[in-house]
Symmetry: C2
Subunit: 301 residues, 2 copies
Amino acid sequence: MSEILVVGSLAYDTISSPEGKVARTLGGSANYFSLAAHHFAPVRVVGVVGSDYRDEDLQMLRSRKVDTEGLQIVEGKTFHWEGKYEGDMNDAITLNTELNVFEHFNPKLPEAYKSSSFAFLANIDPNLQLDVLKQIESPKIVASDTMNFWITSKKQDLLEVLKNVDLVVINEAESILLTEQANAVAAANDILKMGPKAVIIKRGEYGFILKMGENFFALPAFPVARVVDPTGAGDSFAGGLFGYLASQNKALDFDQLKQACVRGAVIASFTVQDFGVTPLKDLTQSMLHTRLDSYLKMTML
Amino acid sequence: MSEILVVGSLAYDTISSPEGKVARTLGGSANYFSLAAHHFAPVRVVGVVGSDYRDEDLQMLRSRKVDTEGLQIVEGKTFHWEGKYEGDMNDAITLNTELNVFEHFNPKLPEAYKSSSFAFLANIDPNLQLDVLKQIESPKIVASDTMNFWITSKKQDLLEVLKNVDLVVINEAESILLTEQANAVAAANDILKMGPKAVIIKRGEYGFILKMGENFFALPAFPVARVVDPTGAGDSFAGGLFGYLASQNKALDFDQLKQACVRGAVIASFTVQDFGVTPLKDLTQSMLHTRLDSYLKMTML
């Protein structure tokens, strides 16, 4: 087992969906990722929050083997995102984004973090992803995510990131935007040409596809009849999969990636069942094992 | 192995997609279904065509063990559908529908067809589906498909069909329209309450879900990077799956349905690779076996 470094956002989210509404609930890619990954391996968080960040939210991470030495607490307000879900629940409509202290975030790794073997660069400015990458000494596996905003506004920097990571984990719509292809299968082929050894495309309720060299693997999501809030499903998918990789502590390997994706899908299926990180806070190893068994039964002949 | 009776449309289609355009190419649910199912079991077709129906199109079916005694050839023009695909290729945009001889179609089963053990009621007026059902003596498995038009305009008749079939095979968007649920998982649960023992929801490039009682199974589609024309993918999926069931000649069983869906997915993946029925005409047993092997490798741990 090896430690995972994750850099990403810690946020408060205001979310409405056909199932209800919550205001200023804990969110952000680094929180979702950490709450998923800690089930498999210890996590170190690099990020920034404002002086309004609730102490209970910090303690919640710390009580789960998440090292927060790399978390900067600065004067000002925490990143706030407001969004809503309608109709098929696959796409969030952003109503408001207040970057706040995130606007001038300058990630600086504590000395102890620099030897991390597993690094996940969650969705932040590709230049910050590159900054973090430079500070890590000799990682075994580096993975990155991104979003439409960076694809549109900082494509060259993003392409530089892709050249320097082993694994890309990206949403289906964003894979299509990035490659200008007609579907995720074609997009996966193109992304591999951009540098990474493997790519995982997240398809929401439709699961994921994984491509590494000529090897391809895909599964649907675990079925959830009542989706309350899809926020963070992709980040917890990434946390589960990357946590599994770190727990195995090996170089990137296709069979390991398949197993890792299955863990990601299982964790993500919990995330969507209630607002914010609520389902992840209550998650136990036993719940994970039971759902993993069901998932395999539902997808294997 | 047992004979399959299929009732559905035989049509000429004019289709445009980002990959090109074809005019008056062979189409219709019964054609796609038969060209898929005949690989597994003999097929009997019930349908109607006009006097413009090309003899080569009739011979093409006959040369593939498809019995066309139940095919009515009447004065007038064959059903013609015109549609286009744009963007994500998952939904056809209908430009024009000319029912022609299909408008007064009155399905009448030849004597020999009445003892068919396997019957597939493809997407036609639910009243015609019921007419056909009444003429079959003691079927082992009856399955039906439908479309948005009947859900909206003849819901009561459609619900009567659903009470009288063992298996429903339906598109994802139509399952949601029929049940007014938010997603296919919830829709599957509701459809089972309408009468059938099992339901299969077709999700295009995202594969399928299968529900029978409390048993659930799902897989993504076989990956196709270049989709030329998705027309008939759902009907050939149904043909492959129902053909497999007839080849086993048993009552409805969950494990058989899983295997059947896999065959459906494999055949459908060929259908989308060129316009109309072209890929299905060229399909060999050996191509099916090779792709089945790849598909299982790509979806099984």
